[in-house]
């Protein structure tokens, strides 16, 4: 059964109800008490997001300082339920202008109730596109267009658009200047063993789009991916161009992309929503260019002293540079005193995360930096318990660089009025979970 929820609760960290909405009659009115008693107030909290208590199942997620709890009593679709929560939070954020926390919920509770009524009916998720909902659920509440006091801007066919085949874009948009912004954002995930061999390495990328286009445009995006290029060459019966092509392991698309067409022709064609959205996500595991190499050496000198040496090499183009580089080197809990020497950036000891934190604001390509640190430990009584070394973690972002080598080849825009568009493309690579065991 595709039902996703019988009731939904928003609780703060103390367990106070901020919002509750019952969609179905099959769960008791105050199931939230059972949740508080058997999950929130026990060690269970956080050990498993799906739990059964009595005849009901509780699915919960924590988002900033709020728990969102879904209660069901039937064999509900769990994936659907969690995805619904994720999307609903995104929707609320777009309404509140960014933050989603206890205060935002209290300040907007009427709006949230109104949205909850609209986005789910009898436990079945309905349209959650912010674009469309904003047409008729506005902060102040829309007046009926047929009422005696007509509102300033009557919304034509709001209902048709909610249910229409292009349920994510409204008609009649006009922009003076037609522009499209493309952001290719990649996260590099790395897990390297202490011996320097790559255990796991992949890139998850997403293409974010900001569209300011008039009318109902049809867009087509071309990338330098292998399958797409081959298909194109085959269709135009000419040999594929040489140059770097990349192999995408998997792609997922925003609902505006015609999947059937992608499947048969391997082209990404779509009618975009207005404003900002995530067009696609992809994953690549082959041929990843790691932007940084990290070479740590950690020596334990006796029971109370450690010597840590970390060398970081940037291996991207010399003309590029990385920003906000942070290297976190874990140290034992009983660290007492630290002293540092760095070739660039600043390092300090952060006791709350038991790590040495080394920050370098700007890191040019093809260079290297080192940090050497001496750590003194409080000698603990009792037997020596070996310290389990958590991995070194790294944060960074490298503008105009893609770890996968992905490039946008073209973005074509067709609209019946035939206007010209300006396209802007940016690339950036960030660290996902960039871990080096030591």
């Amino acid at each position: 059964m595709p039902v996703a929820a019988s009731a939904i609760y928003f609780l703060n960290l103390r367990g106070d109800v901020l919002i509750n909405r019952l969609y179905r009659d099959d769960v008791g009115g105050n199931m939230v008490d059972a949740f508080r008693m058997h999950i929130m107030q026990t060690k269970e909290l956080g050990t498993c997001p799906v739990r059964q208590i009595g005849g009901c199942s509780f699915l919960y997620m924590r988002i900033s300082n709020v728990y969102i709890v879904i209660v069901v009593s039937s064999n509900a679709n769990v994936a659907c339920a969690f995805k619904f929560v994720v999307e609903a939070v995104a929707l609320f954020k777009s309404y509140f202008g960014g933050a989603f926390d206890e205060d935002a919920i209290r300040n907007n509770f009427v709006l949230i109730y109104e949205l909850l009524d609209e986005i789910m009916d009898f436990g079945y998720p309905q349209n959650l596109s912010p674009e469309i909902l904003k047409l008729y659920i506005t902060q102040e509440g829309v007046r009926s267009p047929f009422s005696s006091k007509p509102s300033d801007k009557p919304v034509p066919n709001a209902t048709l658009q909610v249910t229409g085949a292009v349920g994510w874009r409204r008609e009649g948009l006009v922009y003076k200047k037609n522009e499209v912004f493309l952001d290719i954002v990649e996260s590099v995930n790395l897990l390297m063993s202490s011996k320097g061999s790559v255990l796991r390495c992949d890139v998850t990328g997403k293409i974010l789009m900001k569209c300011f286009l008039s009318g109902m445009p049809d867009l087509k995006l071309g990338l330098n991916d292998k399958i797409g290029l081959e298909k194109e060459a085959q269709l135009k019966s000419r040999p594929a161009k040489s140059g770097k092509t990349i192999e995408l392991d998997d792609v997922t698309f925003h609902q505006c992309v015609n999947l059937t067409r992608f499947n048969s022709e391997k082209t990404v064609s779509f009618v975009p929503p207005d404003g900002e959205f995530e067009l696609m996500k992809y994953r690549i595991t082959e041929g990843v260019n790691l932007p940084f190499r990290v070479l740590p050496t950690i020596k334990e000198l006796g029971r109370t002293r450690m010597e840590i040496n970390v060398k970081v090499k940037s291996v991207f183009g010399a003309k590029m540079f990385a920003l906000g580089v942070v290297v976190k080197v874990p140290v034992p809990k009983q660290t007492a005193k630290t002293s540092f020497q760095t070739t660039s950036g600043k390092a300090k000891y952060n006791a709350s995360i038991d790590s040495l934190v080394w920050k370098i604001r700007k890191f040019p390509g093809q260079t290297e930096a080192t940090m050497s640190a001496e750590v003194e430990l409080i000698s603990t009584m009792g037997e020596k318990k070996s310290w389990n070394r958590p991995p070194i973690q790294m944060e960074f972002q490298v503008p105009m660089f893609t770890a996968s080598g992905l490039r946008v080849r073209f973005l074509k825009v067709w609209e019946k009025s035939g206007y010209n568009t300006v396209e802007w493309v940016r690339y950036i690579t960030r660290a996902g979970s960039y871990e080096i065991r030591c």
Binding site: N20, F122, T252, T260
Partner: protein, 897 residues
């Protein structure tokens, strides 16, 4: 553009309700709207604002849509408690359902469907009929769902009014969202009906597949889920369906992807072409992997499903094991599931990598995770013969780290490895023996002892090692005692020298005379008998070759697996349980589980006195002696083999067996069956302890299912914690075949008190002139001892509570209990002499204070916390007698069920 609604939460003055009432009736619109907002805010935090019903409903006739929605929200919450007033709203609903604005039409129908009041549903039919044929798709899609709501309230009405047909027509609607909602509604109705209502034909199939391309992501989920019930006619049709569904794998919505995977897996069963199947497997892998970059909660759902998928089709993810490597910051529930899948995907090809990972995990912080990682290494060793040696060397490395729980876990898995590959890796025993001192967990100890016993002939100092364990024999848990017993016997059989001989005598003595555990005693007697009668036979039994084990600990049965795969992405696939095992169509409080009793019956032989076993200290060597004490029963015919000694205990007691002559009258509710007729050769005995008029009685009934007359009934109780014994003779008339009788036997406490920690076990023996003696176990509910004088005054209670140290306070939760009404519970507790003192409200919870008193002046001060109608009751108790607390909780749990 954020609002400032929080101010509505801040009015918590005393005269709140009258104030709100006034504001709701204000002549100013804005004031009315603010008032309704305050009402909703109060409702959200759990205050009862139902008394404002009329005033709120009066605000319903408004043109302000926001206000209208708030009033509707209020109605949904309170209409059920005010059904008569709810009717006031009907007119507005009916009017709204004809409003020119489609949003308002839809809103009216949507809300009416949520108000589950019979009178309102009658009025819902006409508007619903209209809205199902509305011009506006938004109204139609809302009406479609509304049919499902109505069906849930009144199925007959839906069928009579022809809504089902209307709903089926909507499947051909030109709007994809209407189609999707109609499908969802029909699927739900079909779920709750036994008649075929929504059957997918090949015609509807093609319609649905077409709609799939156009509707929203959620609509795709509804359609895919209902398609998963469709059985394709042949391989060609299956291929066709799969082809249309496969593009969904690229969707960004995880629910769409999982539902598509479900259909593909189901249809693959029919597809015969291996090429097609291989190709499909290839296509499913990347989207499944991508799910692992979603939010951790979604990852968890995906991992639970992947666990099922790899059991069915291991090839899909055979090459993707790396993606299941744990990240340091993964939540624990994700790590645990990843580990499980890594074990399933481990193969000769990737085992080196996998072992490196496991070894890494074994040094992390979370103890449960570390243990699971160590266990995972063992399971890989058992699964992959060629890798076993590498696994063992990793385990040995881990043992050398000397982290206590790692060592213990490693020893447990090494025992299994020895069983899987006998006579292969014994060379490592020496290393294991170095860690003997660190073992403090029963399972690890038992495993180590098993290893020593099994390989006694190769361990030079096996006798010394075992002896060191034997010193603490009486204090060990049962698991360890049993292993020690068996290991010593093995040692003796393998090395029948003087040392082991003395050991075996000591052990057998300990395990028969000193112990309270019947399992241990039984086993000891069997060994003893075997050793004394035929040592060769003993060898055949004890040293027999063991069957080879395999790693199937987490494999699901194939029919269950298929059922779960048909439920991919639902709760069933997360719990790995079939839906009917956790979903009850009827709304009911959680059932009281009867298993508890069965449990005690199986394992509860925790105490039996040893008096009466006169030959229990054998003087000669057990190996040759025939001096094995097996008591002959005192009663006529021999008892069934189960427990020859208990009878001796029972009948050897001072109390004479009480003869039976006079009849007694049966009464009261049915009693639990303690001796089923299958065990009792036709005789069925049901009994229970009860308290009446300050006296404890054994309410017992006999049913004669044998062919002949049964007479001469006698009853005897074994020593127990409370020293309960028969206070009078059992009076039962001769029972004719097919006849039954019930009687009350007066009991006197504190007669033959058994030593040791209190427990609720009551062992009973019953005999008659025709049959052997029957033994059965009953449970002593503590509340039969609660005196009628247990009521305390408030002041006395408070004082007593304060005077007891906090160490004497204990808390327990009864997740299965439910309080559906405070009064009923108080009454029921009072009937068992648990007296009510006071109650208070704490947030949404009710807190009850109660008292009870045991004989000899032991008071119980009780605090019960629960919220009415919600399963789960918390009970705290303070008492000077801590030993009784577990029994007390048992009794309270039974009383609150």
């Amino acid at each position: 553009m954020s609002g400032h609604d929080s101010k509505y939460f801040s009015t918590t003055k005393k005269g709140e309700i009258p104030e709100l009432k006034e504001e709701l009736n204000s002549q100013y619109k804005d004031k009315r709207k603010d008032a309704v907002k305050k009402v909703i805010a109060a409702m959200t935090v759990g205050k009862d604002v139902s008394s404002l019903f009329t005033d709120v409903v009066n605000c319903m006739q408004t043109e302000n849509l926001e206000l209208k929605k708030l009033v509707y929200l209020y109605l949904i919450n309170y209409a059920k408690s005010q059904p008569d007033l709810a009717i006031l709203a009907v007119n507005t609903f009916v009017k709204d359902s004809q409003d020119p604005n489609p949003l308002i039409r839809a809103l009216a129908v949507r809300t009416m469907g949520c108000i589950r009041v019979d009178k309102i549903t009658e009025y819902l039919c006409d508007p619903l009929q209209r809205c199902l044929k509305d011009d506006d798709p938004y109204v139609r899609k809302t009406a479609a769902i509304c049919v499902a709501k109505l069906y849930d309230i009144n199925a007959e009405l839906v069928e009579d009014r022809g809504f089902l047909e209307a709903l089926k027509d909507l499947i051909s609607d030109n709007n994809p969202m209407v189609v999707a909602n109609a499908v969802a509604a029909l699927a739900e109705i079909q779920d709750s009906s036994v008649r075929p209502i929504f059957e997918i034909t090949s015609h509807t199939l093609s319609k649905l597949l077409t709609a799939l391309n156009e509707c929203t992501e959620w609509g795709q989920v509804f359609i895919l889920d209902s398609l998963s019930r469709y059985k394709a006619a042949d391989a060609r049709e299956a291929e066709n369906i799969v082809e249309r569904v496969t593009p969904r794998l690229q969707h960004a919505n995880c629910a769409v992807v999982l539902s598509a995977v479900k259909i593909i897996l189901l249809q693959m069963e029919l597809i015969t072409s291996t090429d097609v199947v291989r190709n499909l497997c290839k296509k499913m892998a990347p989207p499944l992997v991508t799910l692992l970059s979603a939010e951790p909660e979604i990852q968890y759902v995906a991992l639970r499903n992947i666990n099922l998928i790899v059991q069915k089709r291991p090839t899909i993810l055979a090459h993707e094991i790396k993606v299941f490597f744990c990240k340091y910051n993964d939540p624990i529930y994700v790590k645990m599931e990843k580990l499980e899948i890594m074990i399933k995907l481990a193969s000769d090809r990737n085992i080196d990598q996998v072992l490196l990972e496991f070894k890494e995990y074994a040094t992390e912080v979370d103890v449960d995770f570390v243990r699971k990682a160590v266990r995972a290494i063992g399971r890989c060793a058992i699964k992959l013969e060629r890798a076993a040696e590498r696994c063992i060397s990793v385990l040995l490395e881990l043992i050398k780290i000397k982290v206590n729980y790692v060592v213990q876990e490693a020893i447990i898995v090494i025992k299994d490895i020895f069983r899987r590959y006998p006579n292969t890796y014994e060379s490592i025993i020496a290393t294991l023996c170095e860690s003997l001192d660190t073992l403090d967990e029963p399972e690890a100890k038992a495993s180590m002892i098993w290893i020593i016993g099994e390989y006694a002939e190769r361990i030079d100092n096996a006798d010394e090692l075992l002896e060191s364990f034997l010193e603490t024999f009486p204090e060990e848990p049962a698991l360890v005692q049993l292993q020690l017993l068996t290991a010593t016997v093995k040692l003796f059989l393998k090395k029948p020298t003087e040392g082991p001989q003395q050991m075996i005598q000591a052990v057998l003595n300990n395990a028969t005379v000193e112990t309270d555990n019947p399992d241990l005693r039984d086993r000891a007697y069997i060994y003893w008998r075997l050793l004394s009668t035929d040592p060769e036979a003993a060898k055949d039994v004890v040293l027999a070759e063991k069957p080879v084990i395999s790693d199937d600990s987490n494999q699901l049965d194939s029919s269950l697996l298929d059922e779960l795969l048909a439920n991919i992405s639902t709760l069933s696939s997360v719990y790995h349980k079939p839906p009917e095992s956790f979903v009850s169509r009827v709304k009911a409080a959680p059932r009281a589980d009867d298993e508890e009793f069965a449990d005690t019956a199986e394992t509860g032989y925790s105490e039996s006195p040893s008096q009466g076993v006169d030959g229990a200290s054998p003087s000669s060597s057990a190996g040759t002696s025939s001096n094995v004490p097996v008591k002959q029963p005192a009663a006529g015919s021999p008892p069934p083999a189960a427990m020859p000694d208990l009878l001796g205990d029972l009948m050897g007691m001072d109390n004479a067996i009480v003869p039976v002559d006079e009849p007694a009258a049966p009464s009261g509710p049915p009693l639990p069956v303690l001796l089923p007729s299958t065990t009792g050769q036709g005789l069925q005995i049901s009994a229970q302890l009860t308290r009446r008029d300050g006296q404890i009685y054994y309410d017992i009934s006999f049913e004669n299912g044998t062919q002949g007359v049964l007479d001469g009934f006698m009853i005897q109780f074994n020593k127990n914690t409370f020293g309960l014994a028969a206070g009078e003779a059992l009076q039962v008339t001769p029972l004719q075949p097919g006849q039954s009788t019930r009687t009350l036997l007066q009991m006197t406490p504190f007669q033959n008190i058994s030593p040791g920690a209190p427990n609720s076990l009551l062992q009973v023996a019953v005999k008659n002139n025709q049959q052997p003696v029957w033994y059965f176990n009953d449970k002593i509910p503590l509340h039969v001892f609660f005196g009628e004088d247990g009521k305390m005054e408030r002041a006395g209670f408070l004082e007593a509570w304060k005077s007891l140290p906090d160490d004497n306070e204990f808390t327990k939760e009864f997740p299965g209990s439910i309080i559906s009404s405070i009064d009923a519970t108080v009454e029921r507790l009072a009937a068992s002499n648990v007296f009510f003192i006071a109650k208070r409200k704490n947030a949404n919870m009710d807190v009850l204070y109660l008292s009870a008193k045991m004989p000899r002046g032991i008071p119980f001060l009780i605090e019960v916390t629960a919220s009415v109608g919600v399963p789960g009751v918390k009970c705290a108790v303070k008492t000077p007698n801590r030993e009784m607390v577990p029994l007390f909780f048992e009794a309270m749990e039974a009383l609150t069920k």
